[in-house]
């Protein structure tokens, strides 16, 4: 840590400047007022039966009991889990393939790599809500749905990407992967650059083919980054709201209702503040758990470095 300190200052103004509080105050005020306090409040509300419209409430564990007894809650959690897991796996695999492909291309001096990287990255800067709308337009079953037209002319039936309860979740996962694979790709690509080429050469001398080199050199060296990416993508996936809102609004028949959507519904559609808060606290708990895992991984990572 960098410290610049010395004898205590003489004048009052200098002494004020020397105190960390002076520099931290605005940030602390904002974080306390608009982040910490609401966090505490939502936890408090989860222990009530408050409603959005009426001002009275009592404290009890009722909201939690209702939430955990409700099969819809478990269904929502399952949907969220599948969404997050599917996103993670696909993003990691595709991201890895893309990173390897670009790395190989760079080493071979192929052209157009910047175009590839730019195109994939372009999807990442588009806000989630617009991604949802884009894909919704693209995948509709109505007459302007280009994709469905092609599929229909090939197979005879159109696919209800967003209307079939069995396909909707997968479709949202696909859209999520489409927008987010760039992040993983860049992360893994940067990691690939950090692998010393001598390791590959030594492996070649030892007789390892391309697959073996990937398995025994690339993967182990990338393991720390892969784990970190895993945690970050999972957290992002669990917290997704805008994409799903735009694409399916949680439908059809709650097939894509993730936790965030359920919280929104409970509080703003059914006015159940207490219950909504309880689900939100569950979401919070999952976030905190994943953060803990992330921190543990970082500490391990630093030890390896």
């Amino acid at each position: 840590m960098i410290r610049v300190q010395g004898p205590k200052s003489s004048s009052l103004w200098s002494r004020i400047q020397d105190s960390p509080l002076f520099w931290l105050l605005p940030a602390l005020v904002f974080l306390l007022l608009f982040y910490t306090w609401p966090l505490l409040d939502v936890i408090r509300l989860s222990f009530t039966n408050a409603s959005l419209i009426s001002p009275d409430y009592t404290y009890s564990l009722d909201s939690y009991r209702r939430v955990f007894r409700d099969p819809a809650t478990w269904r929502t959690l399952k949907v969220t889990l599948i969404f997050a897991a599917g996103s993670v796996v696909l993003k990691l695999v595709l991201g890895m393939l893309l990173a390897l492909a670009i790395d190989a291309g760079v080493k071979r001096g192929l052209h157009g790599i910047v175009i590839v990287r730019t195109s994939i990255l372009a999807a990442w800067v588009i806000p989630g809500v617009f991604v949802g709308i884009l894909w919704k337009i693209l995948l509709s079953t109505s007459s302007h749905g280009l994709l469905n037209y092609w599929i229909e002319s090939l197979s005879g039936t159109s696919v209800g990407f967003l209307t079939d309860t069995r396909l909707a979740l997968g479709t949202t996962i696909l859209a999520n992967v489409w927008r987010g694979v760039a992040f993983t790709m860049i992360l893994l690509y940067a990691g690939l650059q950090r692998i010393p080429p001598e390791l590959y050469e030594a492996a070649k001398v030892d007789g390892a083919g391309a697959f073996a080199r990937f398995r025994f050199v690339t993967l182990p060296m990338l393991a720390p980054i892969i784990f970190i990416a895993l945690v970050l993508i999972t957290i992002g996936g669990i917290n997704t709201f805008d994409l799903i809102m735009a694409m399916t609004q949680g439908g059809p028949a709650q097939a894509t209702e993730v936790v965030g959507m359920r919280v929104y519904q409970q509080v703003f559609k059914f006015m159940n503040l207490g219950r909504g808060a309880a689900i939100a606290v569950v979401l919070l708990a999952v976030n905190l758990l994943m953060t803990l895992i992330y921190l543990r991984l970082l500490r391990l990572n630093r030890k390896i470095d």
Binding site: Q5, G6, P7, K8, S9, S10, S14
Partner: protein, 355 residues
């Protein structure tokens, strides 16, 4: 008056005492060099004088004022850092004039001071360049220029030449010395290089583990080192040290060889001692003792010879060409007035001990 007094100054970091207590007096206009191995506390002491570290105990006085509680800018000092610490986004002129600009001086006065300092250091053509465009030596001069502009009572140098290559270091040493002769400002200079210390200082302070081993003019430390540490630290190649005892005929080494002694007042018969003789104080003499040449390293102007007497290795430096090869026999004699005796247990030099 810009004398600097360091009165029993100590420094602790939490529970660790890195400097137990240093007392030092630096006269006005003196060029004092703090020298010692890494971690000996010389930089810490310098930074305490500058005001970049708090003083745990004792007092620092500059020009008669106690400055313990003063900010660096109020101590009337200027510092030259090891990595120059030039502001990369400012031109040379802006770097040098920064302190005056902060003090609110007029543009004219700033330009005048900067030009004067640039003139002294030969930087006039570089005033509009940025540090990134300068060589190492030029950057160091700009750092010095920044110090000169402040016209302080004391200059502080923190290993300024460590980042320069050898040839440049030799050149800059002379420039710094010339600068000091011209400006006559009190200077406190920190380095780990004993050659810099020997060539530039009016007074050398050798430090080890937070304590002053010896302080005095360079030649005094060279001729009369207070202990083994100072004796080994000053001078390159290092002084030869041979263990043994004083006998009737001279100095008897542990291996049984007799080494000649000059006049001395040490009565240390029976005590274990170290016989010290610098490599450059050996003379080729037919009446000397025999040694076997192990290695010869001619440098052009001198010849380094590693000689062996039995198991004892002696490094010799002759200021002439020698036609010796490995395996040859060599007859050498030490200059008797340059023989040092140290008590092995305490390391102290005992040549001048009273009877």
């Amino acid at each position: 008056m810009a004398q600097v007094s360091i009165a029993n100054v100590s420094k602790t970091f939490g529970a660790a005492t890195v400097i137990p207590g240093v007392t030092l007096d630096i006269a006005d206009g003196e060029f004092v060099i703090l020298v010692g191995p890494s971690g000996c506390g010389k930089s810490t002491l310098l930074r305490m004088i500058a005001g970049l570290e708090t003083i745990s105990g004792g007092d620092v006085l500059i020009g008669g004022r106690v400055v313990n509680r003063l900010q660096p800018k109020d101590r009337d000092i200027a510092m030259v850092f090891q990595n120059y610490a030039l502001y990369p986004h400012m031109t040379v002129a802006e770097n040098m004039g920064f302190s005056l600009r902060l003090a609110g001086e007029s543009k004219a006065r700033i330009a005048e001071s900067v030009t004067r300092a640039a003139g002294i250091l030969g930087l006039l053509e570089l005033l509009d360049r940025h540090p990134g465009q300068l060589s190492g030596g030029q950057r160091q001069r700009v750092a010095m220029g920044r110090a000169i502009v402040r016209n302080p009572q004391v200059f502080l140098f923190d290993e300024p030449l460590s980042n320069l290559d050898a040839k440049l270091r030799v050149q800059m040493r002379t420039e710094i010395k010339e600068l000091h002769q011209k400006l006559k400002t009190t200077t406190i200079y920190v380095t780990h290089d004993q050659i810099e210390a020997m060539t530039m200082a009016d007074k050398i302070v050798v430090m080890r583990a937070g304590q002053v081993e010896q302080a005095g003019p360079p030649l005094e430390l060279y001729d009369r080192p207070a202990n083994v540490f100072v004796a080994s630290f000053i001078g390159s190649p290092s002084m030869n040290l041979v263990p043994g005892q004083i006998g009737d005929a001279g100095f008897m080494t542990d291996a049984g060889h007799l080494l000649p002694l000059g006049p001395h007042s040490a009565t240390a018969t029976g005590r274990r001692l170290l016989y010290g003789i610098r490599p450059e104080h050996f003379v080729l003499a037919d009446d000397g003792f025999v040694a076997e040449v192990a290695v010869v390293e001619p440098t052009g102007s001198e010849s380094y010879v590693l000689a062996r007497i039995g198991s004892i290795e002696l490094t010799c430096v002759f200021r002439e060409r020698v036609t010796l090869r490995a395996g040859d026999a060599l007859r050498i004699r030490p200059r008797l007035d340059s023989v040092h005796l140290f008590d092995e247990a305490s390391g102290r030099r005992i040549n001048d001990d009273a009877v």
